[in-house]
Every structure is written in structure tokens, then in C-alpha cells.
């Protein structure tokens, strides 16, 4: 069964590591179309009727490998075990955009589904001609076109098509199967990579080797912005075969094994210039208000907010919220393997954006784009761009310098110290209500680093150090969305003060920006409710006009056993809180309700129970989706309770799991995921939205438990105790 094949099996079967991912349809690199408007770019049918799907999006652990198969299988009338999947190989797969923004299924899967529907239409047309039966009286099932009449003249799809492929453009009007007839979509099918992962047979980029491959390690400067003045390499003589590579400030060692590379790196004696370019993490918040700014932008303007605030007299409330710099904190370090020849290059990378990075690597290596191939292999999970692309650039530069394949695996300190970071966010909110408690005016002001328009990718460390040209700028993801309350406030405004820079190199991190924005908006909504002695959940239901939004809020409340009353809880100790998001105001609907307790002595918060009602339209695989949602909740609890990248004026100081702790087994709450399946609606993202209501639901539960309002993340015991002292 194809799905049980691990990558290692595929590699072995192919007999060659370099083009090992093309089974069961062996196609040489550069030999196939990857145009995103052609059916043949997305799928191939072998003579035996098995199908290979070519997917530009990749599985980072989120379950895309089964979801894509299910979507294609449904249209093709085939079991998922008959479908092989090639992911993220720039020579073999169409460019479907980066695997980011929760678009794997919503865009990547939907495009492949349309390719499969076009294929089905074509296969039925071919069979209709051969059998002389009307198209409407035929269907595709179990790998055959069969007459609906029961007539047994079936034609296998492999025989029908022949070797030429479809030669057809994707037809956006090709009819899709009706959701009421779905057999594969919506089933909780197991993910095909899990058995290999659990038995140690899955080949991660960390495990991938090439003949003659060397191991590289890059020595980063002791301070951000420092330059390399000199380096003493005499110590390397102690390690046979070890050598130094230096390109301006890019300093690395190469050795015949990982361990020797680690030893060699420690034996080099570099002298770096003095550099103290960073503000230190404690000064970020104040520095954000000081600028410099590159733009002011009004994102939402409705009604007259100033007038509403003036009319409300003393019923105006103001508060500031802060979200710190955070790391992706991938459990394993970034890693890549590069084989750079004089006329071409292949890079094995865990990148979320192989296609998008291809031009950057071509420029870095001085090669034409079509001679550079990026091949996706699994890395340690990433949640936005971590260090994988930097490790790939490290390996590429070193392979080019030495003329041999090079593998670079970062250390734990490299990963937490140098991965591009989730940027800090500062929000100031003001709002007012009328005598009845209705919110009449609302303003959200944001201080955010401005992403550089048109910049294709995060500037990479290796070319920067080596003095190689690359477009400068900042990447953040879309971080200004969901800053407005979705509760029908008549006068509202959202303004952004766009900052010229970020304290550490930023990139997109899971649900970019929206976690902090929803934290502020949904906490502040509760603040206004508390001021008016209103139950915050009832107030949400009164303000919402969207039926799907009302549904998730109602269901989450019912599951938690919500009893209407204002916060805080008259019986302190345990509290409940809720928060809601309509992600990007156009995608997934999520409501989260939770119970938490606060121990005022220790300042420790314990989350007892989390309920999440989630509507992302059509559900492709409920089991994989549930796990994504649970993961988003746990990871965001970790980010809210514990995580802040600390740094001084020189460098990041949180570089291991003691200085950058994440949530462990002892603190995992009960989690109930309630899926609202809407088969008649388009499928939307499941990887990000559920993260966004978590911090506000928690802050609202802590307020309910104690009357203490937490507005600065992380909610560490020290910070909570300080807040208790301040409030008393």
C-alpha cells in the first residue's frame, strides 16, 4: 500500500538518493510541466491506474499529506492508498505559494481538487467516446470509469489516458462532486507518515546524506552586527580533515562528521568587533512608542469615535497591551543539505517556501534560476519561518566554497539565538459605553514594525555576513488584522503606527500578529463589560450579527457550562473566560472558553479546562484537524504563560530550554475540540485561527478568578505577583 511507504522505502526503491521522490511515476527533474494552470502539473496517472499528486505546499506535521490525498481521491473516485504525493520540489511541483497563512487546504488543496475534477471530466469524456455512452451516464469509481447502468464495460483510468497525460488546462468550471456524496473527504483517516515517524523510518532533512558529504558549522558573531576582525585557525590541526571557510564575516568549519564539525567550531579563535546595537528586551516597549516611524495608517474608520468618547464622559476606559518578541522555538535545530556544482545546485531543505526561495538561492550562488532546485524534506516542526532557510543558505554557500555536498545542522543555541523572531506588538485601546452598557465608541492603536512592500523573503544570515547582495527589509506576515471588535460598535477606528524596524530580525510566526491583536481586543471587550457589570459572553452574543460566529460562541459556552453573571467571580480562586475570532474577518470562526485558577501566593496560573468550537467550513479530515487545533491551543498557552526572547545590547540571552522555557506535560489542561462541519462551505484554514482567542480567554479567566487584569505577556509568576502587588 502506497501510503504505508516511508520516504526511506521510496529512497531505497529509487536506488538513487538524488531523484528519489518521484515514484511511482519516475519522471526526471526538468522533464515535466510545473505550470500552475495545467492538469498534468498537478497529477499523473500511471498505466496501473495509480495516481501521483504534485503539491507545491508541504506537510510540516499538520496533516496535509492525508488531506490533499483525500481531496484528490474524492474527485477521482479512488482510495487514498492509490495516491502518492510529491511535495515542495521546485522541479516537480507547481508553485502554489508558501505553506503559510493556513492556506494548505484552503488554497493548495482546493487547487488540486479542481485539477482532479478536471481530470475526472476528461476521463469520463474519453470513456464516453470509447463506450459510446453519454457522459452523464458514466462515473469514476475504484479507478475505473463505469456506466451507471450497471453495464460491466468498465475502463481503467490508466488504460484510458495512455502515456501522453491530459494536455489540458485546469478548468475552473469542472464540476465537483456534491458534498452529500462524499466517501473520503470528512473521514478521520490516519496520516500516512505517522507509522514511519513512530518507528524511526521517516527521513528528515537531518537524516539525509549524500556520498562525500561534509558537515559544516557556522560560527555566528558574539554580538548582532559585529564584524570579523581576525581568526586564528591553528587549533584545527588537531582534527584531521577539518578546515575553515571564511567569506568576509561568514565564518564556518567543515569536517567529515557532525561531531568533528562541532569540535572544530570550538577550536577556532575568532576576534569580533565590538557591537552593541540592540536595545535589550526590557526597553522594547518604550522604544516602540518612540519610533522612528515610516507611516501612519488607518485600517478601519466607522462613525465618529472622538464624538462618542466625548459624549461618554467618565464611561471611557483605556488600556495598553503588549506582546513580546518570541521564537518559533522548534524542538529540533534547523538543518539543510546542499550540493552545489559549477553549473547547477540542489538544496534539500525544510523550507515552507521552496519556490519562493529559489530566486534568492540562484542569486546567492550566481546560477540561473532554472539550474537551482530546492527539494522539501521534513524538518522539526516550524510555525512560520524559523532558521531552516538560513541553514539552507549556510549549506549552499559552504558547498559552493568547497565543491562538495555539505550538510549544516544548527545547535540549540543557534536556533533560539538566531532564528528570525516573531516581532513585538504594542496596542493602546480606548472605548466607551452608554448608560445601558452598550459600547458606542472604540479605538485601537497599534505600534508595529512595517513589513517591506514586495520583499519576497526574509533576508538570510549567510549572504548578509558574506557581503553578498540580497534585497533588505522586514518580513512579518500580515500582522495588523483583527484589531477591530466584531460586535457592531457604531463608531470605531483602527490605526497603525508603522515602525521602521524591529528589535531582532523578524519573520512570520503562527497566526502572525493576530494572536496579540485578538488578545488586546477580546480582553478589552471584557474590561468594558466588567465596567458595566455585564456578562461578557452574553454581551458578545448581543453584539454578533454573523450566524456562524454566534454558533461557535454559543456552542463553546454551552460546552463549558457557562452561567451568566458579570466578572469577577464572587467566589474567587477559579475563573472562566471566553474569546472569539472571525479570523482575518473572512476565514475561520473560533470561540474558546476556559477555566483557570490563580494562586495569589505563588503567582502561578493553572489552566484547568479549554473548550474550543471551531468552524472552518468543510472539514477534510476531522482527526488531523482536531490535533492541529489542540496543538495551536497548547502552543499559544505556552507563548502566553511563559515565552519572551530576552536579549541584552549584544545578543539573545535566551538560548536553551531553561532560559526559553515552553509548556510541559505537567501543565497541559483538558481540551475539548468541538468541530462545526459545514460541508456546503469552502474549506478554510485549521492551523492558525484557534491560536488567536487563547490569550484573551486566559486573561479573562484570570480576571474572573481574581479581579486581576493581565495585559502584558508572558503571564509569568513573577509578573503576576508584581501585578498583584501593584493592584493592592
Amino acid at each position: 500500500m502506497t501510503t504505508a511507504l516511508s520516504r526511506r522505502d521510496l529512497l531505497k526503491a529509487a536506488g538513487a538518493l538524488v531523484v528519489g521522490f518521484t515514484l511511482p511515476v519516475p519522471v526526471l527533474a526538468n522533464a515535466r510541466s510545473v505550470a500552475a494552470d495545467q492538469v498534468d502539473s498537478f497529477l499523473a496517472i500511471a498505466p496501473d491506474g495509480s495516481v501521483t499528486i504534485y503539491c507545491g505546499k508541504v506537510d510540516l506535521g499538520q496533516g496535509l499529506r492525508i488531506a490533499i490525498r483525500q481531496m484528490a481521491a474524492e474527485e477521482l473516485g479512488l482510495g487514498v492508498e492509490r495516491i502518492a504525493l510529491i511535495e515542495g520540489d521546485t522541479d516537480l511541483t507547481p508553485d502554489q505559494g508558501p505553506t503559510a497563512g493556513s492556506t494548505g487546504v484552503a488554497k493548495g488543496g482546493v487547487q488540486i481538487r479542481q485539477a482532479a475534477a478536471t481530470a475526472r471530466q476528461a476521463l469520463i469524456r474519453l470513456a464516453a467516446q470509447r463506450l459510446e455512452i453519454a457522459e452523464g451516464e458514466l462515473d469514476l469509481m475504484d479507478g475505473e470509469v463505469r456506466p451507471l447502468s450497471g453495464d460491466n464495460r468498465a475502463l481503467g483510468i490508466g488504460d484510458l489516458l495512455g502515456e501522453g497525460g491530459f494536455g489540458l488546462a485546469l478548468d475552473p468550471a469542472a464540476p465537483l462532486r456534491r458534498p452529500s456524496t462524499y466517501k473520503v473527504v470528512g473521514q478521520p483517516l490516519p496520516r500516512p507518515d505517522v507509522p514511519a515517524k513512530v518507528t524511526g523510518r521517516h527521513v528528515y532533512v537531518h537524516d539525509f546524506t549524500l556520498p562525500g558529504m561534509l558537515h559544516g558549522r557556522v560560527i555566528r558573531p558574539n554580538a548582532v552586527g559585529a564584524t570579523l576582525l581576525s581568526v586564528d585557525e591553528t587549533g584545527l590541526k588537531a582534527i584531521k580533515g577539518a578546515r575553515m571557510i571564511r567569506i568576509r564575516d561568514f565564518l564556518a568549519v567543515l569536517a567529515d562528521s557532525e561531531w568533528n564539525a562541532i569540535r572544530a567550531a570550538a577550536l577556532l579563535k575568532p576576534v569580533w568587533s565590538e557591537a552593541a546595537t540592540l536595545s535589550g528586551h526590557e526597553r522594547v516597549r518604550d522604544a516602540m512608542k518612540a519610533g522612528p516611524f515610516v507611516a501612519e495608517e488607518t485600517l478601519v474608520a466607522k462613525g465618529d469615535v472622538d464624538k462618542a468618547l466625548a459624549e461618554a464622559g467618565d464611561r471611557v476606559h483605556r488600556a495598553e497591551y503588549y506582546w513580546p518578541v518570541q521564537s518559533h522555538a522548534s524542538l529540533g535545530p534547523s538543518c539543510a543539505v546542499a550540493d552545489v556544482r559549477s553549473d547547477s545546485a540542489t538544496i534539500w531543505t525544510a523550507s515552507q517556501a521552496t519556490h519562493r526561495f529559489r530566486p534568492a538561492f540562484a542569486r546567492l550562488l550566481g546560477l540561473p534560476e532554472d539550474k537551482v532546485r530546492l527539494v522539501y524534506l521534513d524538518g522539526s516542526g516550524c510555525y512560520g519561518m524559523n532558521g531552516h532557510d538560513d541553514a539552507a543558505a549556510d549549506a549552499a554557500l559552504l558547498s559552493k566554497a568547497v565543491g562538495k555536498p555539505v550538510r549544516v545542522q544548527w545547535s540549540r543555541e543557534d536556533e533560539l539565538g538566531w532564528d528570525p523572531k516573531g516581532p513585538p506588538q504594542l496596542l493602546a485601546l480606548e472605548g466607551c459605553r452608554d448608560e445601558n452598557g452598550l459600547i458606542t465608541g472604540w479605538r485601537t492603536e497599534m505600534w508595529l514594525p512595517k513589513a517591506t512592500a514586495g520583499l519576497p523573503n526574509v533576508p538570510l544570515l549567510a549572504p548578509q555576513a558574506a557581503g553578498l547582495p540580497q534585497p533588505p527589509g522586514l518580513i512579518t506576515g500580515l500582522i495588523a488584522q483583527n484589531g477591530d471588535p466584531p460586535y457592531g460598535v457604531p463608531a470605531q477606528e483602527v490605526k497603525v503606527h508603522w515602525l521602521a524596524d524591529a528589535p531582532l530580525r523578524p519573520s512570520n510566526i503562527r497566526a502572525p500578529g493576530k494572536i496579540a491583536n485578538v488578545f488586546a481586543v477580546e480582553s478589552f471587550f471584557d474590561e468594558l463589560c466588567a465596567g458595566a457589570q455585564l456578562d461578557p459572553l452574553v454581551a458578545r452574543l448581543q453584539g454578533l450579527r454573523d450566524l456562524r460566529g454566534l454558533t461557535v460562541v454559543t456552542r463553546a459556552a454551552a460546552r463549558l457550562g457557562w452561567k451568566p453573571r458579570p466578572s469577577p467571580n464572587p467566589e474567587p480562586g477559579i475563573g472562566r473566560g471566553a474569546a472569539y475570532v472571525h479570523y482575518k474577518r473572512s476565514e475561520t470562526y473560533v470561540a474558546i472558553a476556559m477555566e483557570a485558577e490563580l494562586d495569589k501566593e505563588s503567582g502561578r496560573i493553572r489552566v484547568r479546562r479549554v473548550v474550543c468550537s471551531h468552524d472552518c467550513g468543510l472539514v477534510i479530515n476531522p482527526d488531523a484537524l482536531r490535533l492541529q487545533i489542540e496543538g495551536a491551543i497548547i502552543q499559544t498557552l505556552s507563548r502566553t504563560l511563559l515565552e519572551e526572547v530576552t536579549f541584552d545590547s549584544h545578543r539573545v540571552t535566551a538560548t536553551d530550554w531553561t532560559s526559553y522555557p515552553i509548556l510541559g506535560f505537567a501543565d497541559i489542561p483538558e481540551i475539548e475540540v468541538d468541530l462545526v462541519d459545514r460541508p456546503d462551505q469552502p474549506p478554510m484554514g485549521g492551523g492558525e485561527a484557534a491560536a488567536t482567542p487563547v490569550p484573551a480567554a486566559l486573561a479573562n479567566a484570570v480576571f474572573d478568578a481574581s479581579g486581576l487584569r493581565l495585559r502584558t505577556v508572558p503571564f509569568t509568576p513573577e509578573r503576576v505577583k508584581a501585578a498583584i502587588m501593584e493592584s493592592s
Partner: protein, 170 residues
């Protein structure tokens, strides 16, 4: 065969090789750099790549293997310390066709996302069940307290531990 022939062919090594058992097979490792972590010897010299580097400090548990049945961090145990021991890695526990009970439970619960921490989680669980066949949920949390997962698969992992032991699942 002359008396001198073996002498010429076998120059006495400076340090004796390190002998150990890995997944039930006798293996020999060079003692030349005997302070190197077992992790690197397993991955690079024996080609057993299921065991993963996570932190190199024993903080995350990703590199957990069994040494004489005890869970150890292969990033901290040196090759010299592994001498004479019986080491089990994830590859030695079971295969996709014949998985160990713990592996079968992890598959049944789909208790893995990116899977980078999975190897260490499975090995720790196997060690737990060998000494505590019917652990409580608290026992499971305690045993896994030194293991980190960034994807947030914790609840599935705990369900897998309880499933493997035939206990009620949370």
C-alpha cells in the same frame, strides 16, 4: 601461516575499541574520541538516525535511548560510558510491520505531528511500561516531564501511553 604475519597485519591500537550491543547486535566503536556523545556515534557511525539531536544538554528528551533498559539522554552519555551496555534505539523497538506495543499505541492515537520529539517519547514510554505496566495518568506525566513537544501533541501522547498499558485513556 608464519608467526610474524599477524603482527604485521595488526598493529596494536593505541586504545582498545569500545564494544557494546545496539538493538541486540554486537557493535564496535572507535575509542579514539571516547568522550563523543553516544548520539553522534549512533547517527553518524551506525546510521541509526531515529534518535534526534534537540538541545545537546539533556533538556528536551529528543535523543532518549535505552541503556540496559534505562532511559538515558544520548546527547549526554559518552561513547566510553556506553561501553559494555545494551543500547536500544527506536529502530530496535519495532518496525512499521511489527511495531512494539508502545509504537502501535502511538500510531493508533496518531500521537505525532512533526514527529521530531516522537522517538524520545516512545523510548521513555517503553521504559516506563517495563517498570510500571499500569501507570496512572500522573505517572505518565511524571515520566514524560523531561520531554518537550513544540507541536502540542501532549494529550495524544498521554492517550497513547495509557492505551499501550491497557489503562483508561484521558
Amino acid at each position: 601461516m608464519t608467526a610474524t604475519a599477524p603482527k604485521q597485519g595488526k598493529a596494536p591500537p593505541k586504545t582498545p575499541d569500545i564494544r557494546l550491543s545496539v538493538n541486540g547486535k554486537p557493535r564496535t566503536l572507535s575509542a579514539a574520541s571516547s568522550k563523543r556523545p553516544l548520539l553522534h556515534a549512533l547517527r553518524d557511525e551506525l546510521g541509526l538516525t531515529a534518535t534526534k539531536y534537540g538541545c545537546g544538554k539533556g533538556q528536551c528528551g529528543a535523543c532518549t535511548v535505552l541503556a540496559d533498559g534505562q532511559p538515558v539522554r544520548a546527547c549526554l552519555m559518552t561513547v566510553a560510558e556506553a561501553a559494555g551496555k545494551s543500547i536500544t534505539t527506536l529502530e530496535g523497538l519495532g518496525t512499521p510491520k511489527a511495531p512494539h506495543a508502545v509504537q502501535a499505541a502511538f500510531i493508533a492515537e496518531q500521537a505525532s505531528q512533526c514527529g521530531y520529539c516522537t522517538s524520545g517519547m516512545v523510548m521513555e514510554t517503553a521504559a516506563l511500561l517495563a517498570t510500571t505496566p499500569e501507570p496512572s495518568l500522573e505517572d505518565a506525566k511524571q515520566a514524560l516531564s523531561g520531554h518537550l513537544c513544540r507541536c502540542g501533541s501532549h494529550r495524544r501522547i498521554l492517550r497513547a501511553v495509557m492505551r499501550a498499558s491497557g489503562r483508561p485513556q484521558p
